[in-house]
Amino acid sequence: MTMSGINGRNLRNSNNSSNEFYRGMVQAYIEKQDYETACFWADKLVSMNGGMQQDVYTLAKCLYLCGQYHRAANLLQHYSYERSNPHFRCLAARCLYMAKEYQKALEILDTGTRSTQVHRSRSSAWEPADPHKTITAQIFLLKGKIYEAMMNRILAAQNYKEALSADIYCVEAFDLLTQHQMLSTAEEVALLESLPFEKCLNSDVEFLKFMYSSKLKKYPFCGEDVQRPTQFPFLAKNLDVLTSEAERHFYNCDFQMAYKVSSQVTKEDPYHVGCLPVYVACLVEMKRATELFKIAHKLVEVMSESALAWYSVGAYYFLIGRHEQSRRNLNKALTIDPVFGPAWLLFGHSFATEREHDQAMAAYFKATQLMKGCHLPLLHVGLECGLSNNPQLAMKFLDEARLLAPKDPFIRHEMGVVKFNEKKYDEALTLFKETEEFVDRTKHSGAYLKKWEPLYNNLGHVSRKLKKYEEAQRYHQKALLLCPANASTHSAIGLVHAVAGKTENAIESFHKALSLRRDDAFSTTMLRYCIEKLVEESNNASDDDIVASDVVDASDEESQNFAQKYSKKKSLDTTQNQGSSGKRGHPKTPDAGDMPGFLSWFKDSVSKIDSGPGGRSSDGPRHTSTPAAGESSAREKRMLSSGTEESEYITTRRKNRARHSESSSEGERNRSGNASSSDAEENE
């Protein structure tokens, strides 16, 4: 007699008890995470009992846990219990989902739903022990996930909602809905309202509500104070709660705080998937390249299969300005997870920084599709439209964005910029003023206000256009306080002074601007005009003014002369400008009211405007716009450079016309003059 014979007899004899023994053993091995062993014994159980539902299920589960998805699916389909038993259906579909066989998975689920009603009554169906006794929620959830993977976001969202109403504790469905931006803010609120909280098993409705509402979109609350959970003090240290707190700080542009909180989370749990996006976004915002490098490295090492890891690598390269590499890494992230919205957004930013408007727009559009509930992609599409001189379209997109985030001041600000470009200064002013109200209302740290420096400059420009020079001056001063040593703000102030006839002050401001940016052609040109004007003024001035140190205030008449003189010159320039526009790709309509210098400079300023909001707002709630953050500075630079080009163009034109024998001071300086020796007296 062989051992096996004995065993076989023994087994047959004590069939029931040994079945139970082995089942228990398999469960124990599963508990102990020894899935291979569990797999082995489960397989034997199936043979022993001729494929009882329970054993087949266990075996499939073990295979699933071993990561052998195809095998598990195969096994389940072989026994085809899934027709009758939803649990089998669910597991089979899950295996197929993991194996990326979405269509097949969907088929299995669908066949199931069709036949469920029929077979439900059959008592033979085995069910795993489960206190809740229902798997419908999971089936809906799985279906939603499959739809999402198949890019059918509408159906996916529907299924998630179903899952939630079937099982209120199914957080994953809620997470997927909110974090993947499937719903707009209003829809999110409606969803929260419609949740069947009465189904709660414990009397913890408040608790659940709090947890869910903390996951909602953060930007409607933009500007409100961040509150810590007071009702549930035990949650104060919970990482998820901290993460949502960090997100709120981030949306309030309080990057310092956001960074503090999120680094607290990452310190405790370095791979907290929910927190990492915020953390990465903060790092980009605060330009901490070294730390970003570190975390990206670690993530790639640890979870190279996750899109997030490659996304952070992309963000790092974006931050240090190597867009080519950045895009390559983002591509990697997108191959892993094609529906990873933030990566698309960053993709767009990296194109936008390199002035590839079309490609940027394409990437943003993609992000728009993926993040239906997020206003950021729309905002950026609008921005790009504005940049490529399509104000109507830009307004349309911005309007849409405003529907999604009605309280977001950045959208309003962008609208103001678009209006400004359309020369609708009154409207622009109202929009900017509204924005300012939003900004003022919030309690802000310095860093937050700094983000809004462009707003004040823009207010200054609009006020100047509307001939409110005092105000314009005040706004620019405020901008200067926020961002000191900004050359373009200085030249803006100089411009205001010049137009208001305070030539001396104008000269001083232009000097300051030039000391900060030596090759600023606009300031150079303006400086020359102002100095010439000063000479003219001195001719008319009384004797005392010449010798005494008083600042000569130009009379109104004089300032008008000034304006006239320039408007004449301008008309020439604008035509030239127009001629050139074709080549430069930024067609410009001739502008009746502007000085040529103003025109060029203005472009510069607007760009700045754009950059400001763009930069900050870019984040989606989930991956809060890391991209955007980094982007701001880069874009700013881009715009500035284009601005200077233009004004440079104008100056060269002027030179050619040789109206003034001396070329601009800068040019003159470059040519080393034939200096005579300075007076010795000077050396005293």
């Binding site: 740290s445 310095g446 860093a447 700094k450 200067l480 306080l481 961002c483 000191p484 040593a485 900004n486 000269i507 000097h511 000391s515 900060l516 020359r528 100095i531 010439e532 000063l534 000479v535 001195s538 001719n539 004797d543 010449i546 010798v547 005494a548 140190s549 001396e662 001071s665 003159e668 300086r669 470059n670 080393s672 003059g673 034939n674 200096a675 005579s676 020796s677 300075s678 007076d679 010795a680 007296e681 000077e682 050396n683 005293e684």
Partner: protein
Amino acid sequence: MPPPTLTGTIDLKTVKKQIVTEYHNCTRRGLTKSAKWLAELNFALNHVKLDSKAASDLSAIHFEQKEYYDTYLLCKSFFDNTEYLRCAFFAEPFSKHCSVLRFLRFYALFLDCEKKRLESMSELTVVSDPKQMEHLSELSHEILASYPEGRDPRQYDPYDLYLLGMISRRLGDIDMATDFLVGAIIGNNNIWGAWVELSFLIVDRKRLTILDIPELQGCWMFQFFSGHIYLELHMNEKALRTYFALQKAGFHKSTYIKSQIAIAYHNVQRVDEAIETFDTLSEEDPYRLDDMDLYSNMLYVKGEKYYLQVLANKAVEIDKYRVETSCIIGNLHSIKREHHKAIEYFERALRINPYYLSAWTLMGHEFMELKNSNAAIQCYREAVEVNRHDYRAWNGLGQTYDILKMPAYSLYYYKQAHNLRPNDSRLLTALGEAYEKLDRPRCAAKCYERAKQLGDIEGLAVLKLAKMQKLTDPDKAAAAYLEYLQEMQANSVTDGDEEGKAHLFLANYNFNKKDFDATYKHAFKCLEYPEVKDEAKALLLKLASAKETDGDGDGDTTRNEGLDMDISTTDDATNNTPTPAAGTDSEAT
């Protein structure tokens, strides 16, 4: 403008007590420069004896908050070893409770910022890059945030206010900086650093009104400050008066006051007295390098190559790597006409301290010597950026642009210089020249006239004035020319060209006025100068014919010219006989 007050006498004992207390406060907070200044001043008062109780009080000043003393020792030693970030890190947990530690932390961060700036500076410039600015503004926000909200900024710790003022000034927010600094000074009168910072903010005499606050003016420190600010603003007489008063009040031993007085002397062109003062100073305190570069400037002006060499050697012996030393050596090279080397040394000075004003200006002058106007302009601009009081840099800018044939620019810069020193005739003359180039004779004349009134140092203004008025106002021009000629005679100097022209003009002028005697006199003089000889001859002919037809009025020019040849023969004769007009007249006919 506040009057140069010296209200009441200064109670030296109280002053001394305050100085010593303040000295401890400053050293504790790492404000070494202020501490040094105070210690020097205190030493100047060593004849003042405090009674023993007060003295023992002072020597036993302790750290108030014992519980933080350990941390303080640690942080201070890090600070002293320039490990600023380390200092800041360890001070952070206590910065809410202990004012000294808080200040130490913020000051360390501030110095760290400055240090980084210096290290990362790729090219010499004082214009800070935006990143540094960002750090600074973050720092200032942090300081403000360390106080509970809604607290009146005036109630802040004066040292914090001083720091905030410094940061605000760096950030270009002048009004804010002024408020902070005034607040700091009101909180504690004796922070010398705050006074000095405040002086940077008073860019012109109009801004002196911000000092009209009784809290500021009541203290003895204010008098030191007013001397300082008067000097900065080139109100030298007032500065001298203030410093003399302070010396009389008991600070006669102070080396600081002595050197300030020397600078004031120098500013009012009393170079010899200035040099003398510096000489005595360096005898008393032979290893003092402060302000010695100014001394070297004076020696340079006097052309004392030998003394300059001695001074340079001494400075190198004392400390090779001080800004002052580098400037002195730069001056030495400059006087030897080794301009490239001079530039090298000024650059070295600026590497050590990019805010060192006079090095920028001097470097600009050197570049001018090398005919590198581009670089010169850059230097002057930096100088003006550092300190808007520096009229020499403005003047340098004006000259450079003059050379570059951009008179409109140079006019602007000369004007700035003039505003700083309204009573400097040289600057006025330069201003006038600029107007002249821009074809504004009336304005130019105005400038020259004023220059003349102020006692024209170079003696050019009168002549220029005359030239300017030739066309517009012949009467005044004639007066000016006469004055010029008299001056030349008085100084027994000659400038043939100009004198000839002057005589010719006067002759013509008098001819038109029908003052034939005077015409004759001047025309006759003209014959001494070859350039105008021919014209004079013509005039003399004209004169002759005019005299003939006395009643007819002006002589006919065409006819006079026709007579030109004839009169040439009489040339020598007229020269030999300077007889009255009638005589020549007959000869000519």
